[in-house]
Amino acid sequence: GGSKKCYQLENEKLFEEFLDLCKKQTGEHPEVVPFLFNRRQRARPTFLASAELRNVLSRVLSRAQTRPTKLYVYINELCTVLKAHSIKRKVPLTP
């Protein structure tokens, strides 16, 4: 194999799977899925292809499948991670 594996395709697949799960379970709040999608669009391409994101995605996906009652906890977790790696970061205060 190569020296640096690119996880982009795998991450896309995992993300789609997670979105699919969310679509089925966040029907009362249809704004959640587009928000998650938007978060991903804003994330750094290097992060989208990283092993770190792959780990987060596989974790939230498997947990959401076994504990659907905590789905929003995992959505929040993923959003927080994506936000931390977004291209445009809001600076809270400038002196």
């Binding site: 709040h29 704004e31 959640v32 928000f35 938007n38 009652t69 905590k70 789905l71 929003y72 906890v73 959505i75 929040n76 959003c79």
Partner: protein, 34 residues
């Protein structure tokens, strides 16, 4: 006697409720700021 399982498979999971509230608030904030 039978052991009561910590089976809290309710829709009303407190942690989930808080997370949901936070997420929806953030979505709202993003909609208004964009």
């Amino acid at each position: 006697g039978p052991v009561t399982l910590d089976d809290d498979e309710d829709e009303d999971d407190p942690e989930n409720r808080i997370a949901k509230k936070m997420l929806l608030e953030e979505i709202q904030a993003n909609i208004t700021s964009d």
